[in-house]
């Protein structure tokens, strides 16, 4: 079991006042909060180790390099990759997806087809649209059912021999729905297609094993799992990453430069051009260590409890509609009340010190599907409490009443 009041002490921001009341932070799906353990890891890096890595032979640089590469091991172990060099540090999920989309420019042709789903984040749509524009390939879309789940029958029928790639999020950031990615991957592989999973939401809420999933590429952002901004990772199977051209040119990613010929370095450096976000990477691994010290099982159980508690109470509110109200989801609730605009609800909740996200959540196709301007999205994390949910429910009721 998890001691939430003890955990909350690790998060200085949770003691903050907003609009003269205690902050209630329910915008965790946008970005999670940062515990002292991570803040200190970053500060200590600058206070004790800061130095450019890989190229230096002095002690400070050796220290920094070891801490940076040790972070790669921590992340590799946590996510169950086969090798350290399969973990490429990025500036976030979006960056990771773009490394792959630009890397595929040469190997995708106008005869090929790519599959995304209707519930993807824009970051997992736009790069593929850009790729299709450049290569003439075709983007096909797995529709969602009205309960928000993927239409798996439609997926199966979209999976023709022309399909080279399937791009799918592990968990929908808007609906919280956990997709059956193991099944999606297995079907794709049987069809000879590769799969990239957008794990921006998945990585933060349960433990995953990349090798068991047998996924080809997996991307995530540190800032969604108690880590710092500006860092994330791209996982790819060695042989696939090796077959891609480098993404950016620069220092670190080359082994030999002359004006006649330049040789690229091996993985992972081939994709890590320039001075990386060293402090960010170290903060990222501190975040993974922190979450593991709490235990992903505990997190999963507790967040489910919060979700069920909030869902049950919300459902009692007049004219509420919850989108994606199914069983297999993470602690994210997207809803609307009657015809009230989500931003009206959000503005009033903000006055109560409650931070929720409102709008399209970078998933305009979902909004188009339900024909709504947006939703109010409350997303809970393991440091939230049931009494926060009580206050939230109360505030939602008051907001609804004010709006009349």
């Amino acid at each position: 079991m998890l001691d939430v009041y003890k955990i909350r002490k690790d998060f200085p921001i949770l003691g903050k006042k907003v609009n003269n009341t205690d902050l209630i932070y329910f915008d965790n799906a946008a970005t999670s909060q940062t515990p002292n353990q991570v803040i200190d890891a970053i500060s200590n890096y600058y206070k004790e180790t800061n130095s450019n890595i890989h190229r230096g032979l002095h002690s400070l640089s050796a220290d920094a390099t070891n801490k940076y590469e040790n972070s790669r091991s921590i992340i590799k172990n946590h996510f169950g990759a086969a090798y350290e060099h399969e973990i490429i540090f990025t500036s976030g999920t979006t960056h990771g997806i773009n490394i792959i989309s630009s890397g595929l420019e040469k190997s995708i042709s106008s005869k090929d087809e790519l599959i995304v789903s209707e519930m993807e984040h824009h970051s997992n749509i736009v790069p593929w649209q850009m790729l299709c524009e450049k290569t003439g390939s075709k983007l096909k879309v797995i529709p969602i059912n009205d309960d928000g789940t993927l239409d798996m029958d439609e997926y199966k029928s979209l999976l023709t021999p022309k399909v080279k790639f399937v791009f799918i999020n592990h968990v929908s950031n808007t609906l919280g729905i956990v997709n059956p990615i193991k099944e999606i991957i297995d079907l794709a592989h049987k069809n000879g297609s590769k799969v990239l999973v957008d794990g921006a939401q998945g990585a933060a809420h349960f433990k995953i094993n990349l090798q068991e999933l047998d996924v080809d590429y997996y991307v995530a952002s540190a800032h969604k799992l108690c880590g710092p901004t500006g860092v994330g990772f791209l996982y790819g199977k060695s042989e696939l990453l090796n077959s891609l051209p480098p993404y950016q040119g620069g220092g670190e990613m080359i082994s030999n430069v002359t004006f006649d010929k330049t040789e690229y370095a091996d993985l992972p450096h081939k994709f890590e051009a320039g001075t990386p976000n060293i402090a960010g990477v170290i903060g990222f691994s501190a975040a993974i260590d922190y979450m593991n010290s709490i235990g992903f099982n505990n997190i999963e159980v507790y967040e489910k409890e919060l979700l069920d508690y909030a869902t049950e109470k919300l459902k009692k509110i007049d004219s509420i509609k919850i989108y994606g109200d199914i069983n297999n989801k993470i602690s994210v609730i997207s809803f609307n009340i009657g015809n009230h605009h989500p931003s009206d609800i959000g503005s009033i909740l903000d006055q109560y010190g409650i931070a929720v996200r409102t709008g399209q959540h970078c998933t305009q196709p979902i909004m188009d599907h339900f024909n709504i301007p947006g939703t109010v999205r409350a997303s809970f994390s393991f440091y939230n409490t049931k009494s926060e949910i009580d206050l939230f429910i109360d505030a939602v009721k008051k907001a609804s009443k004010m709006l009349g």
Binding site: S343, D344, S347, P373, L403
Partner: protein, 140 residues
């Protein structure tokens, strides 16, 4: 005709009467509800202000050296706020609109609606009002 500053001061005074934020918001909501809705044909994309989380449509016309604004929104609090903006700006001449310093929003405590973000539309809206004024000024 009152000046822009006079109207702003008046609004600030009105809001000073409210005891807490919920009365202010209730007032904004009421203002929003009372602002006439656009007919469908004015709710067109060319009148839409980019950079609003809720949709805001702004229409203007120019007669006798005076700019008339009309606006609408799909969110009610936004509508309330823009009804204040219309009260401040509509009926003024382009020069005064262009030189106006808008401080009432902060002073009545609606700062969060002012964040420098594309998603929150108040700044975008004021910018659009000034763009209209500029266009009319250069037409003269």
């Amino acid at each position: 005709m009152q000046t822009i500053q006079e109207i702003q001061n008046q609004i600030i005074d009105e809001f000073n009467f409210f005891e807490d934020w919920s009365e202010k918001y209730q007032y904004l909501i009421d203002l929003g509800k009372n602002l006439p809705e656009f007919d469908k044909k004015s709710r067109i994309d060319s009148n839409l202000i980019k950079g609003c989380q809720s949709k805001v449509w702004l229409n203007s016309s120019f007669k006798n050296d005076i700019v008339i604004f009309e606006a609408d929104s799909d969110a009610i609090i936004s509508k309330g706020i823009i009804s204040l903006l219309i009260r401040v700006f509509s009926g003024q001449n382009p020069e005064d609109i262009l030189s106006a310093k808008i401080d009432f929003i902060e002073k009545i405590g609606l700062n969060t609606h002012l964040s420098q973000t594309r998603a929150n539309g108040l700044l975008a809206m004021i910018k659009q009002i000034k763009i209209y004024a500029l266009a009319y000024q250069s037409k003269k």
